[in-house]
Every structure is written in structure tokens, then in C-alpha cells.
Amino acid sequence: MTPQEMTEIRNKRIMAALNMEKPDRIPINLSGQGYFKWIDPKAVLADMFRKPKYIDDLTLQAYKLPIIEEMDSAPMVGFSSEAGLAAFAACYFAKIKLPGRELPEDAIWNIDELGPMTEEDYDVAIDKGWAYLTAELYKRIGFDPASLPPPDMEYMGELMKKVAELGKTSIGMGSAMPMPSFEVLSGARKMTNFFKDIRRMPDKVKAVLEIMNEETIAQTVETVKKGPYNPYLFVGGTRAGSDFISAKVYEQFYHPYYQKLVPALQDINVKTWFHNDSDWSGFLPYFTEFPKAQCIFDPDHLTPMETLKKVLGDKMCIEGNIPPGLLAVGTPDDCYKEARRLIDLMGDTGFMMGVGCGVPANAKRENVEAIILATLGK
């Protein structure tokens, strides 16, 4: 079979799951950042930034290992540049710290929150818009998007060819990352200040969130229309959850973003991929208002799959949800059993096998293999 044919099968498989139809088998979405170590055990996380091309190459090799090659998702390559991470951190107005520079050789990269926004800035955003304030805040943290080195297009082209040869699917990535306004504002103010703001000046916070929602969603739609078509768009959320905030706060300050985003994406034929860390069980009922098979829910290990199945099981595809700690310190037997338990619970329709948030950089190869084998029914 050619790689293109393989990709077609995998695309079909994943689309069936996402559309709540029965796929030929349960899709396996287990991409992670540390697979290069399986090829060169001496390689460390600092090498991701020192020798990114070497690390990309090792990662591609890891994807061809027996059993691992059964994974449907595309490898995480081409990401390990300081510029890329700096841009990601800037979404939260944070700075990036790198292994081998500020951190030990084999530590995971770090987001150092700066919280540059002041209480007075709420008025600036109301008067001049969120984009204006964002530029101001970037100046304050010393981040200049224009000064980022442009991506090496020639290398990226070569890399994409190599990825294509693996015959994977890249459904779900998309060309924009529309972080919910609640998350962005929480980063801009720093979490504790933001929670205090909600208590002390709820109307002002709401006004700014509304402005941000408008601007972000319009810009996202614009970017998605211009970029290569992807049927799903990934939306991250980590600073809320029903353990973090009350339903009242969620309803007024967070959920309106999703209520605007989902239909805006639906209008351009794109579905929403919710990636939500922390415990969201108490808020899941709010997600039932979205049309069937228009979204997917991809939680971390703190939202129990039982609850997801019960509340959202007949509404949207659910991905997950092996705990990351299990991949790092558990045995292959533990991982196999947990994967089987999930399959028995979730069934084969509207479910994708995955790990809470992402496969950790110190996941054991045998453990990832065990999950794949369990999903293949071997």
C-alpha cells in the first residue's frame, strides 16, 4: 500500500470516529514529544533546541518502529524551535525557559508567567481594542513577533514530504489556535489577579472578554479560511474546569466564547476540537447544546471517562484518556489493562484512544506499545 493510500484509510478512520459512525477500528492518537529517545537513548530534551533537525530525524525513525507504526496520528516534528515556543508562550504573555539554557539538560521546557497586564489596562482594552493592548503587553514582556526568525521553508518542505511518507493523518491540527479569551486574560493578568478581578469588577472583565471574543473569533475565521483546509480546529483550555470555578462564573465568563466559536467555525465547515485540562465533569452538560458530531472532547486524566461517556457519549466523539503518570511509571500490563478498560467502557463508535493531554516526554516505549496492542485487540 502506498503512503497516500494509508493516509486515506487513516483519514477515513478518524473521520468516522469524529462523525460518530463506526470506523474499521478505533483510531490511535498517541503523539508525543520524547519518542526520539527510543532511537538515541543519549539524546536529551535540550537537543530538541540544539539540534532540532537531528531530533526530527530520530522522531521520524521512532514512528517506523514495529507496533509504534500502527499509530494513526502524525509525529510532532518541526516544532522544536525557540521561536515557535516563544510564540506559543506569548499567547499567555509568558516567557519560555529552555532545557540546556535556563534548565537542566533533560528537563521539559517551561512557561514562566509574567502577568504584564494591570487593572487600568481593562479600560485600555475597552477603549482601544484587544489587539492594541496585546501589542502593548508584548512590548512590556520584551516579545517582538516581527523579530522571530522566519521558518526555514526549504527544510519544512522536506520535512513535510518525510511526514507524508509515513502515511499518517493530520486531522485536528488546523492552521490557527484560538485560545479562549478567559485563558488569555488569565495569563495576561496572572491567574490569582484574574480571579480577584472577576470578584471585584465582574462587569469590566465581562466587557473585555466580549471584545476579545469578537476579535479572536473573527481573526480565527480569517486565518482558517486562508490556511490549508482541515476539518477540525484545536482549541485549548486549561485554566478553568468545574474544580476551579463555579458554574455561575463559567456560564458568564467562559462559555460565551465557545457559544460564539462553534457556530462561527461550523459556518466555514470546520468542527471544534476541545482540548480541556483539569476536571471539567461539572461543565460537560453545557456542551450538549452543540450540534451532534460538530465537536470532539479531548480531556486530561482529571475528567473521568465514565462521566464523559454518560453526558456527552451520544453527542460527540471523545478522545482519551490514559493518565500520563501511568505511561511514565506504570508497567506495560497496567497500561494494557487501562486501555482495555477504556475500550470496554467507550465502545468502538465515537471514541479515539489517547492520553490525557499528551504522551509525556518520559513515557516508556513498552507502555505506548501496550496501549496500541490493546487497541488493536492483540
Binding site: L45, A107, F195, K196, S242, F244, V249, P324, G325
Partner: protein
């Protein structure tokens, strides 16, 4: 005891807490009495959390307000602080900077009457060892949210043991991805899922 201060703390009214503490200090009310009022307010916060009237965001805010107020009094965890229940040393393990959970646990412990020594985040083994020698706690806590730092906890615990400091010491761990399997892997005594469990475990172990 100042009912105004207790209520302000329980209602997370930061400005009122600060101004009330200042007033009480200027009236010559002993620091210990003021702290007792803050602790009383914090226990209401804890109750409201259990009753799901408050959430983690409120606990996070209460931790900050409580700490800010106790700074005005020279800190609850300061040198020579007296405590009903003994000392609890805690930090986030090296290479990890997550501090939200740690701050909640340390604050809930001090508002429950423990003398808390907060070592901060990204804490190297040497600092834990130094603190154990200095304060001789019966219980210490290591917070960790990164699976890539599990080996660091393991190293830290082994070093504490090698230094001969493990004998009467219980080592608790906690943080999002930490579970029983992690506990076994790193050689800790117990995992706590939240701050309240930490209080209960420590009270029980310290014979309170």
C-alpha cells in the same frame, strides 16, 4: 476575636482584611489573636469549599489574602512561631515550577494550626535536607506536576534517607498526575489528593 476580620477573610474581601488587620495591630491586639481570627475565617473558606460554594479559584485567592495578611504580622511561618501541631515543610520539586497546588496546601496547613515552612518551587534536594535538619519536621510534602520530574522526587527521597533523616519522617507527595503508582515508584509514604487530606493525615500522624 474580631468578627469583622473573620467574616472578611471568609468572604475573601481583601481590602477589608488588610485594613482590619492594620487597625487591630494599631489597637495593640496580639498578633496571635489576629492570626487566630484569620484562621477562623480560613476554616469557613474550607467549609464553603467542601460544600461546593467555593472552588479552587476561591482557595487560591484565600491563600494569597491569608499570606498577605500574615506578612503584616511578621508571617505565620516565621522563626520561633508557635504552633499547635508542629512543623510541616513543603516545596515543589526541582525542575518544576507549578505552585498553585502547593500554595493551597501550605496555606490550608498553616490556617489549620501547623507551623509551615514553604521552600518555594524548583527546590533542590539540598534545600529539603537543610530544612529537615533545621526544623526537624515529622511530615514533609513534595509537590510535583510533571511526570518528567518523578525521578527527581525519587532522588530527593533517596538522599534524605542516605542522610539518615528518614527515620521518624513521613514524606507526602501530591500534584495532578501523581498517584499510588507514582508513590511506590518514588518511595514516598503517602499521596494526598487535596489539602484537606494533607491536614487529616498530618494530624493523625502527629498524634493530634
Amino acid at each position: 476575636m474580631s468578627k469583622k476580620l473573620i467574616d472578611a477573610m471568609a468572604d475573601l474581601d481583601e481590602d477589608l482584611v488588610i485594613s482590619e488587620v492594620k487597625t487591630l495591630v494599631s489597637q495593640g491586639v496580639p498578633a496571635l489573636d489576629i492570626i487566630a481570627a484569620l484562621q477562623e475565617g480560613m476554616s469557613t473558606v474550607g467549609k464553603r469549599f467542601e460544600e461546593k460554594e467555593y472552588f479552587l479559584s476561591e482557595l487560591i485567592m484565600s491563600a494569597e489574602i491569608f499570606n498577605e495578611a500574615s506578612q503584616l504580622l511578621g508571617g505565620v511561618g516565621g522563626e520561633g512561631a508557635t504552633s499547635k501541631y508542629g512543623t510541616f515543610v513543603m516545596g515543589t520539586i526541582y525542575d518544576d515550577i507549578h505552585d498553585i497546588g502547593k500554595n493551597i496546601v501550605t496555606t490550608v496547613m498553616s490556617s489549620n494550626g501547623f507551623h509551615v515552612v514553604d521552600l518555594g518551587v524548583d527546590v533542590p534536594t539540598a534545600k529539603y535536607i537543610e530544612a529537615i535538619k533545621q526544623y526537624q519536621p515529622k511530615v514533609i510534602g513534595i509537590s510535583c506536576l510533571l511526570t518528567t520530574a518523578f525521578d527527581n522526587i525519587k532522588e530527593c527521597i533517596q538522599s534524605i534517607e542516605k542522610a539518615g533523616l528518614r527515620k521518624d519522617l513521613k514524606i507526602l507527595i501530591g500534584g495532578g498526575p501523581v498517584d499510588e503508582a507514582t508513590c511506590k515508584y518514588v518511595g514516598a509514604d503517602h499521596v494526598c489528593k487535596n489539602a484537606q487530606e494533607t491536614v487529616e493525615y498530618s494530624k493523625k500522624y502527629m498524634g493530634v
